[in-house]
């Protein structure tokens, strides 16, 4: 169902003819995203989102977004805004929806060095923000998918764990100020912003609307559009510029003074997790994150072929239970403390730093980039087979992550044995030890499948579905994919105090005309 | 033996049967034998008894003769009508014509009327004995590919390229000659023939040496240079030397169309073919690639004519040909 001409003209008047399109070839770009089949539980040969947007708009400012939203309410259209569109939930998925590509809103409004706050618009990429922040000795939280993703999107509306979560938490916890165009077109400036135009806090007055805005996962455009947010920044121990040597495809970082990059290994999940307890208690790393052998190997090599050759040497398998660590001290004393702790912890837990692995070209460097801002991840998780999905993710204690890791291995194994995924058991990513693991540890048993191979994709779809069931029956907890979208909620909500019923109420109350795409969130009550 | 014959629609040439018809008769005989069918021939014209008699010596079972003063000259409308009626009468299994101007005009119209499918300009015919069908081989895409068509519709109908097959030879058994009532109506003629103008009675296919010019010659003036060369060669070798040309040379009016070599002109295979200023579009190559020796002279090194030439000279023919002629004279 195409937009009525009247509605189209109304939208066109807002953004100008060059910033609106309903060209099918253009819409294809807004209907495609990786892992769509397992995420949407759609057929293996269906590469696109079930519903294509009716039009795409490129708003240039908050007022335009508000005006668009009012048009949506008037004409019974849904909108769905996204930042960089990396995740399936970020794309429009319901019929009669227009997509708002926030690309033209790409300003860093402010980096407040003294108060460690950055105010950003939707299309500021994490990598850009990182570069601008380190000029001031600070860094933003970075989610796993890395530098190309929108910082605003992951903080405000998507999901948000990353390699440095140990010190930069979960994206939902870094929000200080929010400018929110609600589905109705009304503008909500949360917290201190609404009171005095300052960006330092979004909680209150009274109850915090941050709780409605998002939870563990964001609302994926279902509650309106976030046009500007303020986020917390964190310490950066390095220099004011990222430097690297070499030419594509692998750029080796010049690892700054008082920073170091290690891949530490243990002989089992249990030993590794024991070490994680010690690492977090000692508060001694700049970043720390589980290093899945297969994709860490991919990150340090220039091609699949090179990776395969490395794999055949057996070095990676020898380090199957590995945890990548970046140390970073603001002083000599701090880095010495960190190095000493690491050594002691390895000793106590029977861990090691594999010399042979460190000698692999780019090994230390790729680990550094990955931890710095999620760089190299594309090599790691996509180059091998083209896509990935997750089995039974969870977020609670490190011990629970360990429990989940065993479960993940078990769930994936039959498929891996049949050659349907990339061969590697123990590919549980995560151990994003948020806030030194005080608010949990994320784990994602991820499996790499080939979306071009129908059998592989079918397996991915099946395991994706079964994983939600396993999360419930095995009690590993509700993690990532179990937590977003109507379909997952229908399965999980009855086992979690019917949270879905409240979400449906929220959707109805905040978006009375369903003028925002409910696909990634839930249908209204 | 099936009573549905392989029917050949013959053409006359002067007072005799045309050479292309004889070629068809050889091909048709083989098809007829393979399909277990009779071979029949039809001749249309005025005062053609002699020709029919002659035609009866080439191995056909029957020769149909349609005689009428209305077809003194070739009249497409009348031919189509007459053949339609004959086919209704003899119900041929296979119908063959030469890919001549007559065949080109009559066959498609006849095919339409007979509600069958036609393959034109075939270079080979073969019977598919298993399925009792006709396999028609035909160059397509200007000669860039060769296709084999096999249609179920009857009569299996093809026009066949000249000079591809050897002519039939005389046999001792005479064909039965059957007179067919012409049943022609002058009013069926919708096209009034005002006159026929003879232009240039050349038979490129009989030439031993062809000096051909293309767009690169630059104008009709240029062909004089070529004519001088041809004359020299004629004198010194005693061979039949003719001037030919590519389609552009003809289309631009530098040469009469009878001298066109190529897909829509003559297909030739002389002992020596000298292509001057011809880039070598496939449509031209199709007409001369079977020549025994090919010499190409072209300014443009990228011209594809060089790909099929034995000798090539990159350069301006205006400088090359006089020098060639001079040297040739010296050597003669």
């Amino acid at each position: 169902m195409a937009l009525t001409r009247e509605a189209y003209r109304a939208l066109e008047d807002i953004v100008g003819p060059e910033n609106i399109s309903e060209e099918p070839a253009n819409m294809a770009g807004y209907a495609y995203v990786f892992m769509v089949q397992p995420y949407m539980q759609s057929p293996a040969e269906e590469y696109f989102m079930p519903a294509w947007p009716e039009a795409a708009l490129l708003p240039g400012c908050t007022e335009e977004v508000q005006a668009i939203q009012r048009v949506c309410n008037k004409y019974g259209i849904k909108s769905h805004a996204f930042g960089t569109g990396w995740f399936p939930g970020s794309l429009a998925g319901s019929p009669n929806t227009i997509t708002l590509d926030m690309r033209r809103m790409n300003r860093i409004v402010e980096i407040d060095e003294k108060n460690m706050i950055a105010v950003i618009e939707p299309y500021v990429a994490v990598g850009q923000l990182h570069v601008e922040c380190i000029k001031k000795g600070l860094r933003p939280h970075v989610i796993g998918p890395g530098p190309t993703t929108s910082s605003l999107a992951s903080h405000a509306a998507c999901c948000g764990m990353g390699p440095s979560s140990i010190n930069t938490s979960h994206s939902s916890r870094n929000i200080l100020g929010v400018e929110w165009v609600l589905s109705t077109g009304e503008l909500l400036k949360m917290g201190s912003l609404g009171q005095s135009g300052e960006w330092f806090s979004a909680d209150g007055p009274g109850p915090s609307l941050r709780g409605i805005m998002r939870g563990y996962m964001g609302s994926f455009g279902a509650l309106g559009t976030f046009t500007r947010i303020a986020i917390k920044l964190y310490p950066w121990p390095g220099p004011t510029k990222h430097e690297s040597t070499g030419r594509s495809p692998c750029y080796d970082p010049i690892i700054p003074e008082r920073m170091s990059s290690y891949i530490c290994s243990w002989k089992s999940w249990d030993d590794m997790h024991e070490a994680q307890y010690m690492i977090t208690e000692a508060e001694m790393t700049y970043s720390g994150d589980r290093a899945v052998a297969a994709w860490h190997g991919a990150m340090m090599t220039e091609s699949n072929q090179e990776f395969y050759e490395l794999w055949q040497k057996g070095i990676l398998q020898k380090n199957a239970f590995a945890f990548g660590i970046i140390l970073g001290g603001h002083s000599d004393g701090e880095i010495e403390y960190q190095e000493k702790c690491l050594k002691a912890i390895l000793e106590k837990t029977g861990g090691w730093i594999d010399e042979e692995l460190e000698k692999v070209p780019h090994a230390v460097g790729s680990n550094y980039w990955w931890h710095l801002w999620g760089g190299e991840i594309i090599k790691g998780i996509f180059r091998g087979t083209g896509s990935f999905f997750c089995a039974a993710t969870g977020d609670d204690t490190i011990d629970n992550a360990c429990f989940g890791s065993y479960l993940g291995d078990t769930l994936m194994k039959p498929y891996i044995d049949k050659g349907l995924f990339l061969q590697e058991v123990h590919n549980v990513w995560g151990s994003n030890l948020y806030e030194q693991a005080t608010i949990g540890s994320h784990h994602e048993p991820l499996y790499q499948y080939d979306p071009f191979d129908l059998e592989s994709t079918k397996a991915a779809i099946k395991l994706g579905f079964d994983s939600v069931g396993a999360a419930i029956t095995e009690g590993v907890g509700l993690g990532f994919f179990e937590n977003a979208g109507e379909m997952a909620h229908t399965m999980t909500s009855p086992h979690a105090h019917d949270f879905h019923k409240y979400m449906k109420k929220i959707k109805r109350v905040f978006d009375p005309n369903t003028a925002s795409d409910p696909m990634g969130y839930c249908e209204p009550e | 033996m099936s009573n549905r014959p392989v029917l050949i629609c013959g053409e006359t040439e002067g007072d005799g049967i045309s050479s292309s018809t004889l070629e068809l008769m050889r091909a048709g005989k083989k098809i007829a034998d393979d399909l277990g069918a009779e071979l029949s021939l039809v001749i249309i014209g005025n005062n053609i008894s002699g020709i029919a008699d002659e035609a009866a010596s080439y191995g056909a079972n029957k020769v149909y003769k349609i005689e009428s003063p209305l077809v003194e000259k070739f009249m497409a409308d009348l031919w189509v009508g007459a053949l339609e009626k004959l086919c209704a009468q003899v119900n041929p299994k296979v119908l063959l014509m030469s890919h001549t101007n007559i065949g080109m005009e009559v066959a498609p119209r006849l095919a339409f009327r007979l509600k069958t499918r036609l393959t034109t300009d075939c270079t080979d015919l073969e019977a598919d004995k298993a399925e009792n069908l006709l396999l028609c081989t035909k160059p397509v895409y200007g000669g860039n590919a060769v296709a084999i068509f096999k249609y179920k519709e009857e009569p299996h109908f093809a026009t066949v390229r000249k000079k591809i097959m050897a002519p039939a030879e005389k046999v001792s058994n005479k064909s039965e000659i059957i007179n067919v009532a012409p049943d022609m109506d002058a009013s069926a003629v919708k096209i009034e023939s005002l006159k026929i103008v003879q232009e240039d009675a050349v038979s490129l296919d009989k030439a031993e040496i062809i000096i051909s010019g293309g767009r690169g010659i630059g104008g009709s003036e240029g062909f004089k240079e070529l004519e001088e060369m041809a004359e020299l060669m004629r004198k010194s070798s005693g061979s039949v030397v003719e001037i030919g040309g590519s389609r552009p040379a003809v289309d631009l009016g530098w040469l009469p169309s009878s001298r066109q070599v190529g897909l829509t002109g003559e297909k030739v295979s002389p002992d020596l073919y000298v292509a001057i200023g011809i880039s070598g579009a496939t449509q031209h190559l199709v007409g001369m690639m079977r020549s025994k020796k090919i010499v190409a002279i072209n300014k443009d090194k990228k011209a594809s004519i060089f790909n099929i030439a034995n000798y090539g000279i990159v350069g301006d023919y205006k400088e090359i040909i006089p020098a060639f002629n001079k040297k040739w004279r010296e050597l003669s």
Binding site: G191, S192, Q195, S196, G206, E281, M284, T438, M503 | -
Partner: protein, 487 residues
């Protein structure tokens, strides 16, 4: 009385009180809110009773006012705003359900006080994240639900810290668990699977606990919280950094937050520090005179595999940072007050009398959020205000607490007063109610008690509108503490 009978059925006779004395006690507090007597006070002992109570309240349209801490109350949030309300006093729900050393988390009921909590944690080798010297009757759950700041900004990642998960019975009567506690599985099953209810986010795409926190009991009643604890340090080095002006200290504070140095980090003026450290009012006066006008208290704790090294490098770095700002961290002030003594005082609830009441018997607070760099202008404004209203600057305590890793700062002025001095109380009331002055300067009254709620919701009508919508979701019949905030 029908109401009492019904309540008795739900809660049991001994936990339903409606004697005048009790009702009077619950009708007023130390704030300036208008006293309203509840119709009844109930003291449930378990969550099922709370749930039944809320269902009953929905059926009967009875307002419920939850209370966790013991008296004295200071904010007016536990005083009914309408007549006929039932106060739900949760002090009898005072179990410490679980202390998990390994995962640094504890699960407690609302009636647990800081004193009880600290003791229980200490046994397991943990320590609580402390607000500034709470009164002994203060409920831990109450403090955390009110978003009272803690003294260690480095561990304060989010305004909701150290609150993690909760069990809440929403105003609609639905029992709910937030964060990773939500499920699947009962708590026992979760513990079995090594879960400890430490992930605050969710479930799914909503952070329900954020809506409950700061709601002053208007969304539902919390029946337990899981809370972040820290490992009890094996050693701790504390310092007092004296300064004449607040401004002088801010460079060091910001530097420490920016590079994650130290644990405790707060600024007190001489008055407040004296109140905390002195035994009684007379000692307050002498101590105060001996103290520098402002003191920054900082500490570095050692824990983990190499506690000594951790403390050592931090002390060194703090000293360098202090020096760069022209400051000297002292183990003891010239007057003899040692940093360790202060550390000890901050690690426990207040001795009696409550330090805020120590100087003059009573105290009223003005507090709000801003950023560290903006604090001096507010301090100046407070004293200017006091001067203009004729309130003695000598009676003003100043407490500056960086929060959320230093991205914001809690500014608190403690107006020490004598409740019997009507003229003085009128001035205090005037100062508290005139907080618009601060709001106009950018102060963010994120916890709008009493008269402040009108001020903030008038300033930001959109937020009020949407909070009201939220309220309809969780408390459709508006039985939870009606009349508070914008409800």
């Amino acid at each position: 009385m029908a109401q009492k009978d019904e309540l008795t059925k739900i809660i049991g006779k001994k936990n339903v009180l409606d004697d005048q004395k009790t009702l009077d006690a619950y009708s007023r507090d130390e704030s300036f809110v208008i006293p309203v007597r509840p119709s009844c006070v109930v003291k449930p002992t378990k969550n099922t009773e709370v749930q039944a109570l809320i269902k009953w309240a929905n059926e009967t349209g009875t307002p419920l006012v939850p209370v966790s801490s013991g008296a004295p109350h200071y904010r007016g949030d536990t005083i009914p705003a309408t007549g006929g309300a039932v106060v739900v006093d949760l002090s009898k729900m005072n179990k410490i359900i679980r202390v998990d050393r390994r995962n640094r988390v504890a699960m407690i009921e609302p009636g647990v006080t800081f004193g009880e909590f600290i003791a229980a944690l200490d046994k397991e080798g943990l320590a609580a994240h402390m607000p500034l010297v709470p009164r002994s009757t203060k409920s831990v759950v109450g403090s955390y639900l009110e978003r009272e700041p803690i003294t260690m900004p480095r561990h304060h990642w989010d305004p909701q810290d150290p609150l993690l998960c909760m069990e809440v019975i929403f105003g609609d009567g639905h029992l709910f668990m937030t964060g990773s506690a939500a499920g699947p599985g009962t708590l026992a099953q979760q513990w079995e699977n090594k879960r400890a209810q430490i992930r605050p986010m969710g479930p799914a795409q909503t952070d329900f606990q954020r809506v409950v926190q700061g709601s002053q009991g208007t969304m539902g009643i919390v029946t337990w919280l899981s809370v972040k604890c820290r490992v009890k340090p094996e050693l701790k080095k504390s310092f007092l950094v004296p300064a004449k002006k607040v401004e002088d200290l801010l460079g060091l504070v910001q530097k420490m937050q920016k590079v994650l140095l130290g644990d405790d980090c707060l600024i007190l003026n001489s008055h407040n520090l004296a109140c905390i450290m002195a035994k009684d009012s007379s000692e307050v006066a002498t101590l105060k005179d001996a103290l520098p006008p402002y003191v920054l208290f900082i500490s570095a704790e050692g824990r983990g595999v190499s506690p000594e090294d951790k403390v050592a490098y931090q002390v060194n770095d703090i000293k360098i940072a202090a020096q760069a700002n022209g400051l000297i961290p002292l183990e003891a002030l010239p007057c003899g007050l040692s940093a360790d003594d202060v550390a000890a005082a901050l690690a426990k609830p207040s001795d009696e009398p409550y330090w805020k009441n120590k100087a003059k018997g009573a105290c009223r607070d003005i507090f709000f959020l801003t950023t560290i760099d903006r604090t001096p202008k507010f301090v100046k404004a407070m004293f200017d205000q006091a001067e203009s209203k004729g309130f003695s600057p000598n009676d003003i305590g100043v407490y500056l607490q960086p929060t959320v890793n230093g991205t914001s700062c809690h500014v608190e002025f403690n107006l020490n007063c004598d409740s019997n001095n009507k003229a003085e109380m009128a001035k205090v009331k005037g100062l508290v109610n005139d907080s618009l002055v601060f709001a106009n300067m950018g102060a963010f009254f994120s916890r709008p008690y009493g008269s402040w709620s009108d001020m903030v919701y008038r300033r930001d009508g959109e937020t009020a509108t949407f909070l009201k919508k939220v309220k309809t979701i969780f408390d459709p019949n508006k039985i939870m503490n009606p009349g508070k905030l914008c409800f």
